[in-house]
Symmetry: C2
Subunit: 441 residues, 2 copies
């Protein structure tokens, strides 16, 4: 019987104790312990690393680790590694890669890599006084942060600028030090946060040393110091283009023009209708996140920054654009994101390391490019399907596989079911019904 | 030597052929094939399911599968399963659960479960004519969709409403059928898309049967039919509350009041400053996504809908709110999201199924609640850390573990390093330096 009370010290239990408690508390099958063990890696060193990634590790959750070749990016063929639970995403990505490889591939350029963070604080003096002395303060901040920034500067990064912002519209006496950083191949979260926390200490040290200032002026209240995942100045532009009449898969110029024209309208709708924009962008992130997961990058950071970027003009809108101009079809996107390739899970997780090898060990800016390529490729396949056959046809093929597996169909039943449902609507109950009654007739 | 050319038929290769090609094409170590095999599950049936989830499966990518107990939700203690690669997220979630369990726990209520989808089409007739006949059309749409909706209706779901929208501001002659659905315990994507694609066929069938209409009026061009992941009418409200003076961990009313006051200001900033809002919400989704991943739900859909919801008032803002009123501290959030518990990866992935058992097999609305609880819990821990010790202290502890693992430190070295870095800044190079020079002195 489940007890409705808390448990203390759980995180200090051994893995076996945790599993035993779970089984008893929730009345799980006793075999659950063996079941969990079946998902640990046979690679002992790798298993240790995965276990140490998180508190309260019980086992490993498996996602398919896949690749898709034929991503022609700025003239070079790349193989992209993907991790996603969503059926049809990798198939769609692979199809887009192959399609565009025959049409010049993906073009992509970096538009910046600047990241930001803020020290948020309250100060009760006259704002003009702080502004007047800001150069002095900035010098001190940079001096105090030098031990932290030294190594980053050697790698070509560091603090780019420090701006003092007085924002009484948000809170009385509220200020920000709005700081821009370059973090090269690192995601830079720890570096940025360490700098900002140091700035908090330095600010108060500097204020307290202003001997002729009022007592009130000689102290600031630090509210918080934290990097921002909003990175509008860290972004890439990716695009594909080809003559409009080359857009069909089977050399049919008329079909190509129809597709181009409809595709452009569909993308235009996503830029002007929030209901469509959200799902349009979700399709972009299907590709972006699958590559982010494979390379151990933090997809929540990419999602948050990317969607806020999609809302930057006061209305949430689709991220990509499409046009037919002078006989040329162009499909493009600016994607704002920040990722790292040194440190973090990317350098640590054995499978993420292999993913990086598969990508031929890109720099952070190259990885930004590949993520944007994956996003545009995914978007291309989704919109193309939507304006031609509809989304359900492809989805249902994969969905049918999943349903057949859930229902433990034999290989023979699967083959028969695939034939039967080729031209029929797929639903869980229809497949169940089919397996019950229609096979073996 | 890598060949810079495409490969065809890759998806039809066997797994061994794919791996061999990859090793040869990229000059990977020949042991990579064995390495990949080490990450397949020992559970053969489970492995088959995971392989069939995606095209081009090579192996499995492992994330830590963890749990945190002590989530008191509407008076019931729950154990939450989490999947995340980010160190410190699960520790933070567990800490928040324990803290609030002593203060009444999490309160959560559903504010709706309506989902939407749109049929996008062009029609060249007079908009008033279509509006005039819309009731007739709607009846036909519902009749034609009956074979699809039948089963969903038996489960209490179905089509809630169909609205015709004329939107010439977006495109000339552009319309939407904006359709609201209830999908009960299913995420409903396939159901909604099937209904909408049927509506496209039915619309044209109905138009073509209007014998006395002009030829132009008797045909619509279907642009696309697709569900929306923007779900502002599918949402939950979650909150924690306690007397302000009870907010400290060690019964210190003064510290409690300071924390409450600073916490409220920090949350207020996140509602008014986009740079802060993005990272604030990212912290919310750290919790939401960790539970979404564990239960096999599509986190891209949740992210896209959630962030667009955060931008619904024309400015991207933090999702949570905090206040101190009449001596009571309240921290709350409205989260818009749609998830399913039947069908999809949730019902299919063996570990997601276990995660659902750990959650005691919730309904879709209950799972929505838990996801929101995880989001608020994660947000609480992050903001609390930010306004007290700073984020780096906790981060660095986990970060140190990761660095030590990357550097293959022995258990002895790890223990020594943890002591050494207790009051020092942690960076990769400092830890490397320390291991080289300072151990064993």
């Amino acid at each position: 019987m489940k007890e409705n009370r808390p448990i203390s010290g759980f995180s200090k239990f051994s893995k076996t104790q945790k599993t035993d408690w779970l089984i008893q508390q929730l009345g799980l099958d006793a075999s659950s312990a063996d079941f969990l063990a079946d998902f640990e890696s046979k690679n002992v060193a790798a298993q240790k690393i995965i276990e140490d990634l998180s508190e309260n590790h019980l086992s490993n959750f498996h996602f398919p680790f896949t690749v898709a070749p034929n991503f022609l990016v700025n003239g070079q063929y790349r193989v992209f590694p993907f991790v996603t639970e969503e059926s049809s995403v990798v198939a769609a990505l692979g199809k887009a890669a192959g399609f565009w490889a025959k049409r010049g591939g993906f073009h992509v350029e970096n538009l910046g890599t600047e990241k930001k963070g803020q020290l948020h604080f309250s100060w009760k003096g006259n704002p003009d006084k702080l502004k007047l002395h800001f150069n002095e303060l900035e010098t001190q901040l940079r001096v105090d942060a030098a031990p932290i920034t030294q190594k980053m500067e050697k790698r070509g990064g560091g603090i780019l600028s420090i701006e003092l912002k007085y924002l009484p519209g948000i809170l009385p006496d509220y200020y920000q030090l709005d700081v821009a950083f370059e973090t090269r191949d690192a995601m830079g979260a720890n570096f940025i946060n360490s700098c900002l926390e140091q700035f908090g200490k330095s600010l108060n040290h500097w204020l307290s040393s202003q001997a002729d200032w009022d007592a009130e002026e000689r102290e600031a209240e630090i509210i918080m110091a934290i990097l921002s995942n909003y990175v509008p100045a860290s972004k890439v532009r990716v695009w594909v283009e080809c003559p409009v009449e080359k857009l069909s898969e089977n050399d049919d110029p008329e079909a190509a023009c129809r597709l181009a024209e409809k595709f452009v309208r569909a993308v235009h709708i996503s830029r002007n209708d929030v209901s469509r924009a959200v799902t349009h962008n979700k399709g972009i992130f299907n590709g972006v996140d699958a590559l982010a997961l494979a390379t151990g990058n933090d997809f929540r950071a990419i999602e948050a920054g990317g969607h806020a970027f999609a809302a930057r003009n006061g209305k949430y809108a689709g991220l990509s654009e499409a046009k037919n101009e002078n006989g040329i079809f162009t499909f493009s996107m600016e994607l704002s994101l920040a990722v790292g390739v040194v440190g973090g899970v990317t350098a640590l997780h054995p499978m993420a390391r292999l993913a990086m090898q598969i990508l031929e060990n890109p720099s952070a800016t190259e990885l930004m490019q590949y993520l944007a390529v994956a996003g545009l490729a995914s978007n291309w396949s989704a919109v193309r399907a939507l304006v031609t056959t509809g989304i359900q046809q492809g989805h249902m093929k994969m969905h049918l596989s999943n349903i057949l597996n859930t229902l433990n169909a034999t290989d023979e039943q699967k083959a028969a079911a695939r034939l039967y449902f080729e031209k029929r609507e797929v639903s869980f109950s229809d497949v169940e019904q089919y397996l019950k009654h229609d096979t073996g007739r």
